[in-house]
């Protein structure tokens, strides 16, 4: 009987020894992401949830084929096999009545470019690509420059010498 317990006992002792070691990284600094500061084991308070922007103003796209972001709130919008709330305004048939922009022609094509009568199933789930925006600072910085700026800089560089 004691021999059966012995391995377990050894394992437990080893666990305690490892955990008690000073370098065990339980107090390692947490990655500076959404909630900067603190250690791995600390609980830092969650940041407040920001409101969705609801200005109904189209935003500039950073590149031509960027899916446009949604300029209004979509709380409670149902998109499933039963219905698609977005399409009740943005579909081809509804856009005249609602004056909402019609979803682009690419959404009415299958992957071989064949036109379909209704929105293609692979484009049906709007918020796979289109998302509303909130009024917060970006989580991580980036140095993206749009094509106009790059071309302008190229032209400027060519003029100089």
């Amino acid at each position: 009987m004691p021999f059966r317990i012995l391995p377990l006992l050894l394992l437990a002792v080893m666990g305690v020894v490892i955990a008690a070691e000073i370098n065990y990284p339980l107090d390692a600094p947490a990655p500076d992401g959404r909630r900067p500061g603190g250690t791995l084991t600390q609980n830092s308070p969650a940041p407040p949830i920001a409101n969705e922007e609801n200005k109904d103003l189209k935003r500039e796209r950073n590149y031509p084929d960027q899916p446009p972001t949604i300029p209004h709130t979509i709380r409670g919008y149902q998109i499933d096999m039963n219905g698609n709330k977005c399409l009740s305004c943005h579909s081809r048939a509804a856009s005249a009545r609602t004056q909402a922009p019609m979803v682009s022609i690419t959404h009415y094509m299958d992957r071989d470019g064949q036109a379909l009568a209704a929105v293609s199933p692979r484009r049906y789930f709007c918020n796979q690509c289109h998302v509303p925006q909130t009024d917060v600072l970006p989580l991580v910085g980036n140095n993206f420059e749009n094509i106009d700026k790059i071309l302008q800089e190229d032209a400027n560089a060519a003029q100089k010498p």
């Binding site: 109904d56 209004h72 409670g76 149902q78 039963n82 399409l87 004056q99």
Partner: protein, 198 residues
Amino acid sequence: MKALFAMLKDYWGILRRPSLYYSLGFLTLGGFIAGIIFWGGFNTALELSNTEKFCISCHEMRDNVFVELKDTIHYTNRSGVRASCPDCHVPHEWTHKIARKMQASKEVWGKIFGTIDTRDKFLTLRRELAEHEWARLKANDSRECRNCHNFEFMDFTRQSKRASAMHSTSLAKGEATCIDCHKGIAHKLPDMSGVKGW
């Protein structure tokens, strides 16, 4: 048949004959008090059946429609105002309320015979159930919505652009009523194929 007729005739006689033992005062006062008790009891029972607690005492409501309501703005919001089941599904004025309560006897029938006692049965019937509510709200010009959301009190400048555009045209002219656009705000939608505006 003849015996029944004779019995009814007996009772009619009792009703017609002036009281022999009880004073007019006792009968009047007794009738008054009994009226209070019966009427009060009736209304208390009626209001008891008009609570969220009563609605979700049946699993059909608790496990299907109530869980869906819990996510929505009508159940939880920043200011803590809640619309519970009867606020939207039972008219507040007495006459309409009694009419709706009479219709609800069909729902008692459904409960007894298990018309929607499983999730599958509920999902199959969901479109029909939803259509009943859409038709009711369409017919009464969304009366239950307007118990709280009064068109006269709306501040269009505080609404988003597209909301105020819709409300100040179609709704203001009476061409459309709340339910025409705001379907599925408190519960999940059924299969919407063929529904106008979808």
